[in-house]
Amino acid sequence: MTLTRRIIPCLDLKGGRVVKGTHFLELRDAGDPVELAQRYNEQGADEVVFLDITASKEQRGTIIEVIERAADQLFLPLTVGGGIRSVEDIQQILRAGADKVSINTSAVHDPSLLSRGAEKFGTQCIVLAEDVRRNFTANPDATPVALPDGRTCWYEVVIYGGSKPTGIDAVTWAREAEERGAGEILLTSMETDGTKNGFDIPITAAISDAVGIPVIASGGVGTLEHFYEGFVSGKADACLAASVFHYGEMTVRQVKEYLARRGIPVRL
């Protein structure tokens, strides 16, 4: 009897539609996030994340409508991220039926958004989304992280989808977010994102060790083995993936069956 490790499919949405083509040819509407999420649900997904990559004010209504439909049909935890800038935005998304909001760039600009959100809605629904990149320049204030090749670097928080470095140390920021009331950290490494070479294990383990809240590993998964590494070497509490599920390279169930065979507790 133990808390299971979670597998979380992520859907990138633009204008309320799933971005990228899909190999789920049997779906009536492959671009409909709710239908795709339902498919993941049937495969045994533990939660679902919707990431609104449009995230403009004008399109706000579209994502709200998607959340409402998802909440009406899926009886699973739903996290929504993208363009959340205020307590009002958080409230609107939670009211529509989401259970958690993930906050990225806005939290860097104004860390009090985490505290204000947690105070009003509880820490359990505030997820800090942290995008990070390796930095090899000397920085005595940053937390050194040893890489498998023997080099040492620190990890810098990047914002605006990874395009803008902030100078902020990723481990320090994770700790601050926890103190401010974040209930979970969604960590994406720009080093591994999109590579299919596996999660960025050194920073995942460093942040998981540094905080007392759950950490979701994200970015880079390509094989079943990568999920195992994320949990065991990366010490992640959950693993998130988009494209491997989206393109049907593997199902959530296959991942969980593999993990169960290797002794990782999962809900099957």
């Binding site: 009897m1 133990t2 808390l3 299971t4 490790r5 979670r6 649900n41 533990d46 409402e68 909440a71 009406d72 009886f75 699973l76 935890p77 939670l94 009211r95 529509a96 039926g97 989401a98 259970d99 009003k120 809605f121 509880g122 820490t123 359990q124 629904c125 209930g183 979970e184 007392g212 809240i213 759950p214 950490v215 509490d237 959950a238 809900r267």
Partner: protein, 202 residues
């Protein structure tokens, strides 16, 4: 159709709770109106967030809930469950509704365990199961998100779960007041089954 009221006191994802009950065969109304709640045939008290805020937000509804609990079934979910108890140790000591004996405590720190307890964990159900868990096997998974847990005796426990320590994941007053720490409305088919069982008792 029996009149089931979901108590709206400004906290929590009421939409999911409402949809979960609808999907399970009920026709719930969401209300914060004292008269309406007093006339309910079944009451669901949802909620997320902090204990003290929850009790404050309930305000005058506290008395209504206490009065109704002697005549109609009540189901507390997550914070709603915690508020049924005597008191909570969340950010100081705060009095609850006192409908189920026991205390709400914070998970102790333990190496290798994250708080909140977030994710899917199993229920241990007694052999002679309560109708609230009819059709749900011991070992079934439910979805949890919480940092505080119910500490009560076995006589008031309907289901147990273990995380850092064993705790009561479903409680009752040995009559018709029930509370569950997990979120049945987020626990897939098993959660909906539990909601259906509650509706059947209304």
């Amino acid at each position: 159709m029996k009149k089931i009221i979901i108590v709206d006191y400004g906290l929590g994802n009421l939409r999911s709770v409402r949809r979960g009950i609808e999907k399970s065969g009920g026709r719930p109304l969401i209300s914060s109106d004292i008269e309406e709640i007093s006339s309910a045939e079944g009451i669901v008290l949802p909620g997320v967030g902090a204990f003290r805020d929850g009790m404050q937000q309930l305000g005058a509804l506290q008395r209504v809930l206490i009065a109704s609990s002697s005549s109609v079934p009540v189901l507390g979910i997550c914070l709603g469950m915690q508020m049924l108890m005597d008191w909570s140790e969340e950010h100081g000591v705060h009095r609850g509704l006192g409908l189920v004996p026991g205390v709400v405590r914070r998970f102790p720190r333990r190496e290798g365990y994250k708080v909140p307890h977030m994710g899917w964990n199993t229920l241990t159900l007694p052999v002679a199961g309560h109708p609230l868990f009819e059709g749900i096997p011991s070992g079934e998974y439910m979805y949890f998100v919480h940092s505080y847990y119910a500490d009560t005796d076995t006589a008031h426990t309907l289901a147990g779960t273990e995380y850092i320590c064993p705790f009561s994941s479903a409680i009752w007053n040995q009559d018709r007041v029930y509370g569950v720490q997990f979120h049945p409305e987020k626990s897939g088919a098993a959660g909906l089954r539990m909601l259906r069982n509650f509706i059947a008792m209304v």
